[in-house]
Symmetry: C2
Subunit: 363 residues, 2 copies
């Protein structure tokens, strides 16, 4: 398959071979209008797991690209987080506002069930816990569920807790202490996770400057935790020790890097680097980057506890989230030993774990 | 996905929706070089079943096209034959002469096993019983196997037996008798199945004219069964009652139809009509066409007996092959009642069976 442009401007199999994907699975059900793509990247560590996105893709290739790219991201995220799962992702082509139905999600559930546990789905952009309940009617292979069905409950606090662990490891490395007391932190976004990041930082005694596209919301949060606020476009240039992107992706780019005055970037947003080279630029500028998928793995670690141990246990799950600190220490060691930027060291760390387990499996 | 030309010059999902395919499954394994596509068309009647082809496809889209097209053909073949299986097909992209290995087939076997019985594979163009043994090491979902692994043994005699049943039903319809004694039959091809067609026709007392691209082989078979031979390119114009294509596909076309002097076309070759409209042309010319996938279903019925009943039973399997006679009668009734050519009536018959069973399943 040769698409016109973009990263999938190659044959499907060439792409799958290049990044060693195991399977790509097309699901069609005329009766319900279901058109879904499930990508299974690498199941060395465990079943391919990752959320189910629903989106009005303009082109079929964009849906395939999304499924493939996101599945691979999940492989790295789980591997680095010490979770025994592989990377997978489902994508439904359709408008989440108008094209959802019980029948559609149950049709997808039946297709997922055929894979017999090789792929485990969950909530993602465009899907809700209610949609997961429909899928769950047809298959047990759903991780994100309401608590009455065995789900973990709200995970945002644990994502935020993980972000703080990663930040503390970086802080210890740079300043010799875990304590964030008195440190000036600029937080971008006080949504579900960002709010909890602010809360935890306030508890640590950090000095906070926050913003949000909803500035009224930022002001309310600021009042609660004794923070300052700035306009959304001013957050990059705040004179601070730590910049914490907790909202949009691609905020570390050619425009923002020259503005940054921090020593550390550590936040819970996905895909913070616009391109890989922006990780190099941070490094050159002497800014320490906590890789996004390490910093925001807490929710995933917490959420998937049930898959590892049969039943969700909040204490055990939280303990495993806390280990992000040690993971970040290991990544810092690799970065130092191999003289590479931290974003590359995180990939190296994940790949090494998969490589080691692959060897064990081949015995 | 929009390919340059051909029948797949549309998006994968548009094509899947048009003909209501359930799944398309890409399998990649870098270590063994495996690149395979498995198409699952319709599993209303049972697991999607169909052989595994290995071929050096020039273009990825050709492999996808082959898998999709052949899977749908299997749905119709099983449905019309009264077999409780759905249509599926696997395609390995690679050179069967140089790219085969135990590891490659076992990698495919593992991927097939993930589908947990939703797809059952078998021998096809470019694969052998030995390859099936490798797949069988990883999954029980293989139909074509050596007898020591539960396989049915040689199936060509049963394919030929089925062809004769379909022919007899047509003959009864046209001439009021099942007996082929004294009928002049032109047989094209005396390969594994064609040989047995000739043998059975000779037993029936038919008057035989045969050919083969290997004319020496044709002469040897002719000597054994008291047949005449003609050059391969002369077979179409033989003055006969029945023309039996038992070799190449697409032999009923614009060039050959004007030459035909028979009353019936009934053979075991696949895809005899070059295009659907050639079925109409036969009809217009007053030649009765026994649809190819009805005439050659005997081998499939015989081979899949084990899947239906747990263990292969030659007598039961042969009895079910004999039912092709009744199937052909039913198709003739539909053709008459709805005033449509037989090739369309066969599709109608298959679609009706699937429709009826779908209703039962929805109860």
């Amino acid at each position: 398959m040769r698409y016109g442009k973009g990263f999938l401007a190659m044959l499907i199999f060439d792409y799958m071979e290049k990044y060693d994907y195991e399977n790509l699975y097309f699901c069609q059900d005329k009766a319900t209008g279901l058109k879904a793509v499930i990508a299974l990247h690498d199941t060395t560590l465990g079943p391919a797991t990752g959320g189910c996105r629903m989106w009005t893709y303009d082109r079929e290739e964009d849906a395939i690209e999304d499924a493939l790219r996101l599945a691979r991201g999940m492989t790295y995220k789980y591997a680095a987080a010490g979770v025994n799962l592989g990377g997978g992702k489902a994508v439904i082509i359709g408008d989440p506002k108008t094209q959802k139905s019980e029948a559609l999600f149950r049709a997808l559930g039946r297709f997922i069930n055929i894979l017999n546990g090789r792929y485990i789905t969950g909530e993602d952009v465009g899907t809700t816990l209610e949609d997961m309940e429909y899928i769950r009617m047809e298959t047990p292979y759903v991780v994100t569920l309401p608590e009455h069905l065995g789900g973990a409950g709200p995970i945002s606090p644990y994502t935020a807790f993980g972000t703080i662990q990663a930040l503390k490891a970086a802080h210890k490395h740079l300043f010799g202490t875990d304590s964030l007391a008195g440190r000036r932190v600029a937080v971008q976004g006080v949504g579900s996770v960002g709010y909890h990041v602010v809360e935890l930082l306030a508890k640590e005694g950090a000095n906070l400057v926050i913003t949000d596209i909803d500035l009224e919301k930022a002001k309310a949060v600021a009042a609660k935790f004794g923070a300052e606020t700035v306009a959304p476009d001013k957050i990059y240039e705040v004179d601070c020790d730590i910049f914490s992107p907790c909202a949009l992706g691609a905020v570390i780019n050619d425009e923002t890097i020259p503005l940054l005055k921090c020593k550390i970037v550590a936040g819970c947003a996905n895909n913070q680097l616009k391109e890989a080279r922006h990780g190099d630029l941070l490094e050159e500028k002497g800014i320490f980057y906590v890789p996004d998928y390490i910093a925001n793995a807490g929710g995933t670690i917490y959420d998937t506890d049930r898959l590892m141990y049969g039943q969700h246990n909040k204490e055990r799950a939280a303990r495993n989230v806390a280990r992000i600190y040690q993971t970040m220490e290991a990544i810092i060691r690799i970065a130092k030993e191999e003289n590479i930027p931290t974003y590359q060291a995180a990939d190296r760390y994940a790949e090494r774990r998969i490589g080691e387990i692959r060897k064990v499996k081949n015995i």
